[in-house]
Symmetry: C2
Subunit: 247 residues, 2 copies
DNA sequence: ACGCGGTGACTAAGCGCATAGTCATTCGAC
DNA sequence: GTCGAATGACTATGCGCTTAGTCACCGCGT
């Protein structure tokens, strides 16, 4: 009878190694100590059970407070989600808008650094990033649009690097949009399964995915690859669309 | 005050091209006409607003019935979700367990076919697949475990092909687990952004991702790739772990 | 030292509402 | 007339958020 079956209790969530990450350091400055605790608790709850399955009681119980205490620090449950997603997206974007990448010489080096940092950031903050990626439909339309704007910027950072490499001949004549979406998919989808106590450190995974991204754009010697069962059907992966409506 | 803000009305969902896919044909046999309509409506609602934000009224209104009608065909809302995810996972798995792939000659050909079919299936059924991927936390623990078992099988299909290629020297000496996860990430993450009215047909995207998967495993000529800023730190991407706990 | 008014964090209790699910009854095809 | 499908009115419950009030603490005049 209308019981909301959150599958993880606060105690289970506290101990679960799959919900351990380094997202505490995301909101170290802008919030007071209690508000930070509430955000951390909310991240765990939202990541484990989803925004709508999480009650204000769950969040506040995670820091040993009463439900009403949440409203001393945040005006609504939705705004808690908004702050999490906003900060998450802002920090991820800032982490790939660094001089180190811009000033790296070749597009290949830039792409390698970009993919390494993007992947490692998402691995390090995979719990918060999971909320950022999969709980957006709990936002109001206005807040959702703000987050989309941040995502557009992230997209452009990738697009610029890949487009540069294609333009100057460093990369193969690939479809920029498709490759960018593929690289982003790798860097994002890992938050669905990654865990810090798994076999790969964030840096190792970043290194590996940077290699994969490079392989995506590198020219292949004509007879290097194995035989293609499909001869040539005129539907090759080059310039199929100018700018697709990337979410 | 406790208003659940589902952001999409039934009418909006009916018309939104982002919620159009071919998932109708998934449950053509096992259910009656009305039950199929309810499943289709539930898929749209769950994909648009999430399981917990969807009411039984939303689902039944999508087919012009009263809320109570849902309980004529399904014992609970959770079981509607379970049927969707079960059938989705079963069909996706069946779609890559075909003789066509097993009997293809080289591991490269098998991987190409596998990735093509896996990607195209998820693109064609991206709305239902989105529910299958992102709404699993609405399931009871028992049902969740059943789905995990199906996912494990899917994993193994990929692992077998890649491991074969590595064993017989067709592929480079890559880390099988990492490559499999990367390929699965590409094939799965597309359901987050794909739309049938976008620039790529399911087949084109499958073709493109099959190329990417091949590039992931193909040996690179020693000086083919651009200079690596990292010389050799002993942390190369080879055999870091035997079998990781893939979700 | 002390009292005193002010302040902000926090709580207990609960309001108003919406939800998942129930059930006696009706409808409609055969 | 029978029987399954569908319904409208209903229940039990849980939800987000509010309200009235407690408590610890602060500055400050005396």
């Amino acid at each position: 009878m209308a019981k909301r079956q959150a599958r993880f209790t606060p105690q289970e969530m506290e101990d679960d190694p799959r919900l351990q990450d380094q997202s505490q350091d995301l909101w170290s400055e802008e919030f007071g100590e209690v508000a930070r605790g509430l955000l951390a608790s909310a991240v765990r709850c939202f990541a484990a059970n989803g925004f709508h399955a999480t009650t204000t009681r769950d969040i506040s119980a995670g820091v040993g407070l009463s439900p009403a205490a949440l409203y001393v620090h945040f005006p609504s449950k939705e705004l808690v989600l908004y702050e999490i997603t906003r900060i998450g997206h802002e920090r991820a974007l800032a982490h790939i808008q660094v001089p180190e990448i811009k000033e790296a010489g070749s597009p290949a080096d830039r792409l390698r650094l970009l993919m390494r940092r993007y992947t490692a950031w998402h691995a390090r903050h995979h719990v918060a990033a999971r909320v950022c990626q999969y709980q957006l439909n709990g936002l109001t339309p206005d807040h959702y649009d703000e987050i989309r704007e941040l995502r557009r910027h992230t997209n452009e950072v990738f697009r610029d690097v890949v487009a540069d490499g294609v333009a100057d001949g460093t990369f193969a004549q690939i479809d920029v949009n498709r490759v960018v979406r593929g690289a982003l998919s790798l860097g994002i989808d890992l938050v669905r399964w990654y865990r810090l106590d798994g076999p790969d450190s964030p840096e190792e995974l970043g290194e590996f995915y940077a290699d994969l991204a490079l392989k995506m754009v590198t020219k292949t010697a004509p007879d290097e690859q194995s035989a293609r069962p499909r001869p040539s059907n005129g539907l090759n992966h080059t310039g199929s669309s100018p700018v697709s409506a990337a979410k």
